[in-house]
């Protein structure tokens, strides 16, 4: 540790840290374009100049490590002049098309121009342009506008150092250098949209999000990606009840600063909703009913003589799975199975640039296992379903890919099925009782990643129409079945009960999970180092 003074604030920080990070620790933001904490340091945008006392020249904060006793000035007159000059150089050829630029609002050129730039320009000549590169789809998800590029090479370094695919490169030289794909191939890798995330300006934007919303309208709620068991941390961008996007949220232990395209583009699918009210499907066709009528109906079905079975879902949060175990396995003593699908191979690089591979395709199968719900694959699922003709509870109609098929609906034909769901599957269309399930964005809950990190995904929106989160539905049912549990328990309180009962979650609270980047579940230390 060394002690440095930054604008008069003393900071204790590890030796070798650069001045940008040291200043951040002192609560001072040094502007940066080419510097990104997750990428190598190139020191080429020159906006991060700071003055070190007793040194004749300004230094770039990103490439200068702190030294004991160093005294840094981040806002001296010389620094401000140099920054204004660099800002002017950067804007000299920038098209300044902010009103029609989709980066507006989260553009570092705008921010730092406002903060450090001149209020005028000396530029009267024609600006440099790259004809043909103004609106170029360089891959399935990324749109390039080279006129806006400031040649910071963050995107190139992302493909070289993080995705390891090296598909972007700088071509030509000097003021005419431009970003292009290697060999002219499409820019396509599993994390391709991250190149647009790291782009500090509007040169690279995400095709799917372009012009869908203005970012200053978006509210960002910290959440977790529902895509697979890795559990990348995301910010859920939403406005007036509509989800617009996921952007990665930094978590050094899991996803670093990145996320994969598959997960990212799940965001808008969270807006889909077919099932709006509880309904019964009988001989007279589907008929809506109220939640209390539905719970009455479910209670009646569950009191059937033949064997009741429950399909839990590894997509549901720990709270719902905990309740499912309490209600079905412990109270009713019926068979519960959590089907887990292991079909897709996804990878993610964490903040230490180590690969984490996913274990399965569900965000919370580890949680189901820790809570004590039996886990099974498709064979186990079909074997169980084949062994009874009694009522079946499906806690999530998308729990397993097979469950969404016609074959599953065919197999369960005639069986009283109680299903929760958001969008229809063949099975949900023939369910005896159908309950509208709140979406991921409408549910407060915790999820346990494959590396054993328990993570809080907060609710960004209120559930639409009559939908309820699974835990709320189960609480209603538990109360009707006579369990000693308060039906008004919030997910937060429910999680506290869970933490008190299940040793792996001991000592965890929502408050702690919100503050720490993924608390490892106890007893899972060995798993926590997978990858």
């Amino acid at each position: 540790m060394v002690t440095v003074t930054i604008d008069g604030h003393e900071v204790q920080i590890a030796e070798g840290t650069n001045i940008v990070e040291a200043a951040l620790k002192a609560g001072i933001e040094v502007p940066t374009y080419c510097y990104h904490p997750g990428l190598s340091v190139v020191g080429q945008c020159r906006i991060c100049f700071v003055e070190i006392e007793d040194q004749p020249r300004l230094v770039t904060a990103c490439s200068t490590p702190v030294a004991e006793g160093m005294s840094v000035l981040t806002a001296s007159e010389r620094v401000n002049e140099a920054r204004a000059a660099v800002m002017e150089f950067l804007l000299e050829n920038h098209p300044l098309d902010c009103p029609v630029c989709d980066q507006a609002g989260e553009c570092y050129l705008q921010d730092y121009s406002f903060e450090h730039g001149l209020d005028t320009t000396h530029m009267v000549d024609e600006r440099r342009t790259f004809p043909g590169f103004e609106r170029r789809l360089i891959g399935p998800h990324v749109v390039q506008n080279q006129n806006r590029c400031i040649q910071c090479t963050r995107c190139i370094r992302f493909t070289e150092e993080i995705s390891g695919t090296g598909d972007l490169t700088m071509k030509s030289r000097g003021n005419h250098s431009y970003i292009d794909t290697f060999n002219g191939e499409p820019y396509d890798n599993p994390w391709s949209a991250c190149a647009a995330d790291v782009c500090p300006v509007g040169a690279l934007t995400v095709k799917e999000f372009r012009f869908r919303a203005r970012v200053w309208h978006l509210e960002e709620t910290p959440s977790v990606c529902p895509g697979c068991s890795i559990g990348c941390n995301v910010d859920l961008g939403h406005f007036k009840g509509v989800v617009y996007r996921f952007v990665p949220r930094h978590n050094a232990e899991i996803n670093g600063w990145w996320m994969c395209d598959y997960g990212r583009f799940l965001a808008e699918s969270l807006n889909a909703r077919d099932i709006e009210q509880p309904a019964r499907t009988g001989d007279q066709g589907a008929a809506e009913m109220s939640w209390s009528e539905a719970i009455d109906e479910i209670t009646r079905l569950l009191s059937s003589d033949s064997e009741v079975q429950v399909v839990a879902s590894p997509n549901l949060p720990n709270e719902a799975l905990f309740l499912a175990k309490k209600v079905f396995a412990d109270h009713l003593g019926v068979r519960v199975l959590t089907p887990v699908y292991r079909g897709e191979n996804r990878r993610m690089k964490n903040g230490q640039r180590q690969w984490i591979a996913n274990v399965d395709s569900h965000p919370n199968s580890t949680g189901a296992r820790l809570i004590g719900l039996p886990i099974g694959d498709q064979d186990a699922l079909t074997t169980m379903l084949g062994s009874s003709t009694g009522p079946l509870v499906v806690l999530d109609n998308h729990a397993h890919p097979w469950l969404q098929t016609e074959a599953a609906a065919e197999m369960l034909k005639g069986r009283p099925v109680i299903a929760l769901g958001r969008t229809h599957t063949p099975l949900s269309r023939q369910a005896s009782v159908l309950l509208p399930l709140a979406s991921w964005a409408e549910t407060d809950g915790t999820y346990t990643s494959s590396t054993g990190r328990v993570q809080l995904a907060q609710r960004g929106l209120f559930p639409k129409a009559g939908a309820k989160p699974a835990s709320e539905a189960l609480l209603l049912l538990a109360a009707r079945l006579g369990l000693e549990i308060d039906p008004g328990l919030s997910p937060r309180a429910l999680f506290e009960e869970l933490a008190a009962e299940v040793p792996a979650f001991a000592g965890m609270t929502y408050r702690r999970l919100a503050g720490e980047p993924g608390v490892p579940a106890l007893g899972l230390e060995e798993v926590a180092h997978v990858g």
Partner: protein
């Protein structure tokens, strides 16, 4: 002064190893290989040999920066990328006496304990690369290169690496990147190449002329070398004179000779008897000096004091007919083309300055342009950029404006107004919504 570096200029077949041996070549090598490497470094330090590539940094001191206890292999790179406009001395050495360079490379490599040396030669030097290849082959045959040189147990391999013709690759870290097979972009310093150079190993990069001086220092001693020139500016120097003189060419003269002597005595005076207007003393990136500085001594310190730099010794002479606005435009065209584009001030500034100067010359200058040019030259130089290319185009801008600002002003005063862009006229809405105005 007796010719030293160009002593074989008038010899027939001067490039062959037999001529070189006849003139006493490789004698210094025999002497050096029984010396301690540190003694060689000390000798070169005492000789006061300053780098001939442009910066004038003492070569012996540079060699001393190589960490001798490093377990990594060490490398010597001979910078033959000679791409500074107005400079053509390395080419002359390679043409006249390639073995002198090779002998210097061997001694320098031995002095820093390197077993591999590269000659990075610019792509356009096709013939020169071939000359070097031939000379190296000859040296291998005579056991001056390869395993167990002259049975002293010292090994050295020399490779000729051809660049692709980028000015920036003459900057030592960009050169190193280029040798590694990457884009020639200068690296952030520190670390300096002496510690982390090519392939991450300690590396010394020396100019052709610097290395060619080394055999002479070893053979005739530091005191002899230091006796040539002036204190702190010792030894012979090749001056490449181009422009409006009667006899342009490469002249070998002691450091400290005045520019007047170079131009009037050695180059036969100004062409057509015209008057001298200005001269650039050290390659195109050196600030221009007006005619009244002609009595400046041509050495590193005196030229620096006069407000320019000796650089590579490329003396560009301009007579009274030269339009200085055109001359600056010419220089800036080169720098805008050769800026690598890595860091902001140089990438944007070089092109912007060119746009402005070109516009001034085309008769559309504006009074504010001078200030803008000064602003560019202030903020794209002096450590604002990663490498000295920023200074290389800002020095000319500042010095041209300083000494010949009146020519720019004359252009601007006579200028037609800039062609006005027609702005679309938006219809103004009246009535409701205008708050009763």
């Amino acid at each position: 002064m007796e010719p030293i570096l160009l002593r074989a200029r008038d010899e027939a077949n001067s490039r062959s190893i037999s001529t070189y041996l006849r003139l006493g070549g490789y004698g210094a090598l025999k002497k050096a290989l029984i010396m301690d490497p540190s003694a060689i470094r000390e000798e070169v330090k005492n000789a006061g040999l300053r780098g001939r590539g442009g910066a004038g940094f003492p070569a012996g001191v540079k060699w001393g920066f190589v960490p001798q206890d490093s377990p990594k292999p060490k490398y010597l790179i001979c910078n033959a990328d000679e791409s500074e406009p107005g400079t053509f001395k390395d080419r002359e050495i390679i043409h006249v006496d390639p073995h002198m360079l090779i002998e210097g490379i061997i001694i320098a490599s031995y002095a820093i304990s390197a077993n591999t040396a590269y000659i990075y030669i610019r792509g356009e030097f096709v013939e020169e690369a071939e000359i070097l290849e031939r000379a190296i082959a000859e040296a291998y045959k005579k056991k001056y290169l390869g395993r167990n040189i002259l049975t002293t147990g010292y090994d050295l391999d020399v490779f000729v690496h051809r660049g692709a013709g980028a000015y920036i690759c003459g900057e030592e870290t960009a050169l190193i990147e280029s040798i590694e097979g990457k884009r020639g972009l200068p690296r952030l310093k520190p670390p300096f190449p002496a510690v982390v150079g090519v392939f991450g190993c300690p590396t010394v990069v020396n100019n052709v002329e610097t290395l060619a001086c080394v055999p002479h220092i070893i053979e005739r001693g530091a005191a002899w070398f230091a006796s040539i020139g002036r204190p702190r500016n010792t030894g012979p120097k090749l001056f490449c004179v181009s422009g409006h003189v009667n006899r342009p060419g490469v002249y070998e003269l002691p450091l400290g000779v005045t520019f007047r002597e170079i131009i009037e005595e050695h180059c036969g005076g100004m062409r057509d008897g015209k008057a001298l207007k200005a001269f650039i003393p050290g390659g195109s990136s050196a600030p221009v000096l007006p005619a009244d500085k002609i009595d400046t001594a041509a050495d590193f310190d005196a030229v620096a004091e006069a407000g320019s730099m000796l650089g590579s010794g490329g003396l560009i002479v301009m007579d009274e007919t030269v339009d200085m606005v055109w001359a600056l435009e010419n220089l800036l065209t080169f720098y805008a083309h050769e800026s690598c584009g890595q860091c902001t001030p140089c990438r944007e500034g070089s092109d912007w300055a060119l746009d402005i100067v070109r516009r001034i010359r085309r008769g559309h200058g504006r009074p504010a342009d001078i200030e803008t040019l000064q602003r560019i030259s202030r903020y794209a130089s002096q450590g604002m950029t990663i490498c000295p290319l920023g200074d290389a185009f800002c020095g000319p801008i500042a010095s041209f404006l300083n000494h010949f600002g009146h020519e720019f002003k004359a252009y601007i005063n006579a200028a037609a107004p800039m062609p006005e862009k027609k702005l679309p006229v938006l219809p103004v809405r009246s009535g409701r919504g205008t708050f009763g105005l």
